[in-house]
Structure formats: structure tokens, C-alpha cells
């Protein structure tokens, strides 16, 4: 389900030239076939918005993955309160003493008010954690949605009826309210009320709960697609030759479902990033001191009247990421499904 990434894409400035080149190279190897995937890739490369968004998204993922490395090179970590050794960094009101939130050559993005942690590494790790949770949730959601949706659509009958009603119920739930009310209950399953909740459990519970509510929309979409596809003649043709249901699903149906699956999951991930941050902000997701976009924004909201800088970094980076990912999702859809052009 990895969205197509333009890692090997030609530089943007020379689009026209590369196009001409690709045409001539196509002519030279005429037997090379134009698979639907390759055609989509070609369309995607021509879409500037999509390519730029893809670069931005990749940039964020690289930062997230390389966060420990960058922090090591930079020589700081997100947990140390640097002001205990250098109390002069904060003023009398516990706000950064320097201008712009204490930005300096030593603390690139400034320091946190009160606790005095390093904002740059905190943001790096926040991106890492938030993207990790959102990606895991999106993956799990997609797998669940595909399995349930395809099963319901292919089997039809009573299974389909039952699954469709479950989807109806799930989609009619006010999920945000449910998260807030239900997260403590989930933690309660695993941890005694007075114990500390380990971070890994928080992350796992978040992923599970986000997926438990997210699969319904994908499953419904795929169910509809399968209902349409299974009556197509190529499925009948496979059955006439004796294909097993497994083969029909995996070889005949699934290749035709990649388009909606990829589109849905690329639009799902940014939604999960914001949902996860929202939960953290509300105090039911990840909590301080675990670095997280939502935690950072939550902390920033406490100080923004005095120190806007601390709020700006997580806020702007998140807006850029979500915007880029949504634009990427749109471009992927346009590339894979050219008929659905706005």
C-alpha cells in the first residue's frame, strides 16, 4: 500500500525535455508494454503538485526515520532539561531569555518554556512518533478494511448483510467522543488504575482504537467495488477454467482493487496524523514527556501568549505535512483513476 514515491523522478525543471526523451525511448523499445501501473506512474510524474508533495512527504518520513541519527549529530536529546545546567537560558518568568523563543546556534528551534527542553530534537522525535503511530494505524486499517470488505462483497448474502450493518453502526458513531471516553477503558484492560501506563501500551492502544473505527469506510468502499467486479465476465472466465475462490480473489479481483486501496490509504494517513495529535492534545493519546505533535501543540497552547515560537514549529510542520500528504493523495487518485478528474 506504499504510495508511489517519485524517488527516481526526473528533476522538475526539465519536464518538457524528459517527456520528449521518454517518447523517443518508448519508440526504440516498442515491444515494451504500457501496463496500467506504468501509465499511472507517467501521469503522476507530469503532475507538479503531486511530485512536490511527494518530496515533502518523503522529507518528513526521512526525518522521522533518521531522527536518532540527526539528534546524535546535533548533540542533544528531547528529554534533557538543559536549563538545569544553564539557568540563564530562561528568564525570571521561566520563558526563554533569548529572542524568538531562545533560538540560537546552539538551540536551532529555541528551547521550551519552563522545562527548557530542546525544541528541535523534541520536534524530530514528535514527527517520528506521530508518523509511526499514524502509519501503523493506516496499515492496520487498510488490511482490516480490505479483508473484511472483499470477503463481504465476494461472499454476499448473509455475510454481506451482517458486515454491512456493522459498518453502518460504526460509521454512525461519533468517533472522537468515543475515543475520549473509551481510551481510559482500554488502558484499564491492561493496567491497574494506579499504575503508570507504559508508552508502548499507549501507542498500541491508540493504533488499535484508531483502526477499529477506521476500517469501516474502506471496507464499505471495497465491498461495493467487489460487488461490481465479481459479476464481470473475466471473473466468470476464471471460474469456467476452474479457478478456486482464493485465486479469483487474489489474482482477478485484488489487482483491480489496488487503485481504491492506494487512494484510500493515502488519504487515511494524514487523517490519522491529525486524529492522533488531537487525541494527544485532549490528553487521551500520548502524553508528556513522550515527544508527539499533539503533545507539543498542547504544551504550546499553554504558552502561546508569551512565547508563540514554541507553538509555531509543531503547528506549521504539521500543517505542511498534512497538506502535502492530502495533495499527494489527490494526485495519486488522479494518476490512477484519470476519469475521476475534478
Amino acid at each position: 500500500m506504499t504510495p508511489p514515491t517519485p524517488s527516481a523522478a526526473a528533476p522538475l525543471e526539465v519536464t518538457d525535455e524528459t517527456e520528449k526523451k521518454s517518447i523517443t525511448s518508448d519508440g526504440s523499445k516498442g515491444s515494451e508494454s504500457r501496463s496500467p501501473g506504468r501509465l499511472a506512474w507517467k501521469r503522476f510524474k507530469r503532475d507538479r503538485t503531486g511530485v512536490i508533495s511527494a518530496y515533502v512527504v518523503i522529507f518528513f518520513f526521512v526525518i522521522g526515520i533518521a531522527a536518532p541519527l540527526i539528534a546524535k549529530l546535533y548533540g542533544k536529546n528531547p528529554y534533557t532539561t538543559y536549563t538545569t545546567q544553564h539557568p540563564e537560558l530562561l528568564n525570571a518568568f521561566s520563558y526563554p531569555a533569548g529572542p524568538n523563543g531562545g533560538m540560537s546556534s546552539e538551540f536551532w528551534f529555541g528551547i521550551e518554556p519552563q522545562l527548557g527542553r530542546d525544541v528541535f530534537t523534541f520536534l524530530l522525535y514528535a514527527i517520528r512518533n506521530s508518523l509511526g503511530i499514524a502509519t501503523a494505524a493506516a496499515l492496520l486499517t487498510t488490511v482490516l478494511g480490505v479483508v473484511i470488505g472483499v470477503t463481504a462483497g465476494y461472499l454476499g448474502g448473509k455475510t454481506d448483510y451482517l458486515v454491512s450493518r456493522i459498518i453502518d453502526i460504526l460509521l454512525s458513531f461519533p468517533s472522537t467522543l468515543f475515543f475520549i471516553a473509551f481510551m481510559p477503558v482500554v488502558f484499564g484492560f491492561f493496567v491497574a488504575p494506579d499504575d503508570n501506563i507504559p508508552t508502548s501500551l499507549r501507542a498500541t492502544a491508540l493504533i488499535l482504537v484508531l483502526s477499529a473505527f477506521g476500517w469501516a469506510s474502506i471496507a464499505r468502499l471495497l465491498r461495493g467495488q467487489v460487488l461490481g467486479l465479481r459479476e464481470r465476465e473475466f471473473v466468470e472466465a476464471a471460474k469456467v477454467t476452474g479457478a478456486s475462490p482464493m485465486r479469483v480473489v487474489f489474482k482477478e479481483l485484488l489487482p483491480n482493487l489496488w487503485t481504491p486501496i492506494i487512494i484510500q490509504s493515502t488519504l487515511l494517513l494524514p487523517a490519522f496524523v491529525t486524529a492522533e495529535a488531537g487525541l494527544a492534545f485532549l490528553g487521551v493519546g500520548m502524553i508528556d514527556p513522550t515527544p508527539d505533535w499533539g503533545v507539543m501543540i498542547g504544551r504550546g497552547a499553554q504558552f502561546y501568549t508569551e512565547d508563540i515560537t514554541f507553538m509555531l514549529f509543531p503547528g506549521i510542520s504539521m500543517v505542511i505535512f498534512v497538506l502535502a500528504f492530502n495533495l499527494l493523495g489527490d494526485s495519486v487518485r488522479d494518476a490512477l483513476d484519470p476519469k475521476s478528474k475534478r
Partner: protein, 347 residues
């Protein structure tokens, strides 16, 4: 066709699609009697044409023979083996011998698979490893159906309708079948392409000795292709005969009406009598009693309403020419006023 044991023997084949209704508990409130008691045989290497108007159950019949649909009643015997209710595993050895060509060449090929994969699929499923490898065999098949073997790696969207239908034929041939059910194989194609595909099928039939059940609504094409022709009306066979016999001496009024509707290709042809059927085909949910054609037949009497005519050899028919009519047509009889049945249509 001096074969005592037919390749395919269909007797009393019935398919009723239930109509569900009611709330909250759905019950069967009726049935679409798509196919109601068909009897016919197909000999080895023979081509049986199945003609009739839209909605008369031709395609359902094809799907019943290939067991894409489960028959409601009757019996399908393939080479003496009852396959009426065989499940997928029991069918496995027969699957490779009965293949199907579909109507819509745009829907019958998976858009995400290359031609090579599509044609090799049946061999993969049935675990057939021809000498020289599957890829060679596929190239060979592509050549047989008149496609460039170099197109092996192309995708269906790169082909025209006629070429796609050839791919469908190649896929059907991949398992070296004994019987191919062709469900209106050319009706979705351009007229100029139809002849090519029909000739290809004819070549395949002659050279490989494959029997065909050829479903079509175009009488000219069936005449060109099939040695024997069955005419269907509303889920029943009304007449079945050898080609020449049927076209020269139709005994059932419906057959006669159908044949009279075929346009004449020559300019000098004498103007023929043209029988216009009035009204629509009745609903298969609630078919007429007795003879199903009686509501549109100019000869219908009370007997037709009360008694369903059996499919028998009518007086003066050659052996093998069966007609289901109480009052079979007589050759060169002066046609009665054939529009008088429905006063509305006369206006």
C-alpha cells in the same frame, strides 16, 4: 456425426431465479423461469446454434452448461457423466474440456493482466505444463487466433474489440477443450469484424474438431456457423433441426416469423412475405399457459392455451427435426392474415 453417444446431453434443464420479497423476513414470492425444460444433444465436433430473442434464456442456458449457474432441475450429462450438481472439485477434470467465449470482449479480459497471463491462466489453474513451456504454448495459441505472438506482454486496453475477442478465443483454446460455449461471441463487435471472428471460430471448429454451442440472435451468422440450430422462445426450445431443414422448411410459426425478419442481401430478390410479430415477449415470471408463444401467434386456438405442445417430430419432418407446435406450418402455404392477432398493432 454418426455418434450414438452424444458429447453433451441436456434433458429437462430448468433454471428458475427466485424473486425475494417481504419485510423484515425475505421470502421467495415468485420465480423468473429463465430456462424451463430444455432437451438437446450436442455431438462431438458438432456446432449447435441457439437462437432467440433477448431474454429467452439463451445465455442462461450457456451458463448452466458451463456450470456457472446451478440448475434448478433437469440433467446435464457430459460424456456419460452427470455434472448437473457436481461441485468444483468434481468438475475439475471436466473443466478443461468445456470452455466458454464471452459476449463482451471489453469485460471478459482482466484489465490488469497481460495477454500472456490471461491466456496462460487456464493452464496455470489446471496445472498443465505443455512441452516447450507455457509461454511457448501461449505464443502458439496467439498465432492460431491470428494475433502477433509478440503481443504477449501487452495489456487488453491496447487492443481493439476484435483482437480482444481473439484473445478470448485463445484463452478458451488453451485447455484444448472438446466443447466451447460461445455466448454471443460476435454481437458486441463491428459488422466488419464479426465475419473475421466467426471465420476464426469456424476454422478452429474444423481443424481442432471442437463442438460448439453457439448462442446468437443473428440468424445469418448461426446459419453460417452451425450444423444444427435450436430456436428458443421464453425459456423453451420451440424448434430444433439441421441447418438446411430449419432455414428451408421452418415448421414452428415463431421460427418462420424470425426467418422472415432476416433482411435479403441481394437486390433482385423477390419481395417476400414479412411476418410481423406484435407485442412483447411475455414476462418469464408469469409465462402464458400452454404454448408460450400463443399470445403472439396468429394461429393460436384454445388448445394452445390449455395444452403445452411437446417437442416432437411433426408430420413431414425429417428425422431430427423437432417442433413444439400443435399446428405446424406447412411449406408454401398461403399465409393467413398474420397481423390480425392484435388490434392495436393493426392501427
Amino acid at each position: 456425426m454418426s455418434n450414438t453417444n452424444p458429447l453433451l446431453d441436456v434433458s429437462g434443464l430448468t433454471k428458475h431465479f427466485p424473486i425475494k420479497g417481504g419485510f423484515p423476513i425475505k421470502r421467495t414470492v415468485g420465480a423468473v423461469q429463465a430456462v424451463d425444460g430444455l432437451d438437446f444433444q450436442v455431438a462431438e465436433g458438432e456446432s449447435l446454434g441457439l437462437v432467440g430473442e433477448s431474454g429467452c434464456g439463451k445465455s442462461t442456458t450457456g451458463r448452466l452448461i458451463t456450470r456457472l449457474l446451478e440448475p434448478t432441475g433437469g440433467k446435464i450429462t457430459y460424456r456419460g457423466q452427470d455434472i448437473t450438481h457436481a461441485n468444483r472439485r468434481q468438475l475439475a477434470p471436466i473443466r478443461s474440456e468445456i470452455q466458454m467465449i464471452f459476449q463482451d470482449p471489453y469485460a471478459s479480459l482482466n484489465p490488469r493482466q497481460t495477454v500472456g497471463k490471461i491466456v496462460a491462466g487456464p493452464m496455470e489453474i489446471n496445472d498443465i505444463n505443455p512441452a516447450g513451456g507455457r509461454e511457448n504454448r501461449v505464443r502458439e495459441l496467439l498465432e492460431i487466433v491470428g494475433l502477433n505472438p509478440e503481443h504477449y506482454n501487452r495489456f487488453p486496453h491496447e487492443f481493439s474489440g476484435g483482437q480482444r475477442q481473439r484473445i478470448g478465443v485463445a484463452r478458451a483454446l488453451a485447455l484444448e477443450p472438446k466443447l466451447i460455449v460461445a455466448d454471443e461471441p460476435v454481437s458486441a463487435l463491428d459488422v466488419s469484424i464479426q465475419a473475421q471472428v466467426v471465420n476464426l471460430l469456424q476454422k478452429v471448429q474444423r481443424e481442432l474438431g471442437i463442438a460448439f454451442v453457439f448462442i446468437a440472435h443473428d440468424l445469418a451468422i448461426v446459419r453460417h456457423f452451425s450444423q444444427r440450430v435450436a430456436v428458443m422462445y421464453l425459456g423453451k426450445i420451440v424448434e430444433i433441426a439441421d441447418r438446411e431443414d430449419l432455414y428451408d422448411n421452418p415448421r414452428h410459426p415463431y421460427t418462420r416469423a424470425l426467418l422472415s425478419a432476416v433482411p435479403e442481401a441481394t437486390v433482385e430478390a423477390e419481395p417476400r412475405e414479412r411476418i410481423r410479430l406484435v407485442g412483447d415477449v411475455p414476462s418469464p415470471i408469469n409465462p402464458p399457459s400452454g404454448c408460450r408463444f400463443r399470445t403472439r401467434c396468429w394461429k393460436a386456438t384454445e388448445k394452445c392455451a390449455s395444452e403445452a405442445p411437446p417437442l416432437v417430430q411433426a408430420d413431414g419432418n425429417k428425422p431430427g427435426h423437432l417442433t413444439a407446435c400443435h399446428y405446424p406450418e406447412v411449406r408454401d402455404a398461403v399465409p393467413a392474415p398474420r397481423l390480425a392477432k392484435d388490434p392495436e398493432a393493426a392501427a
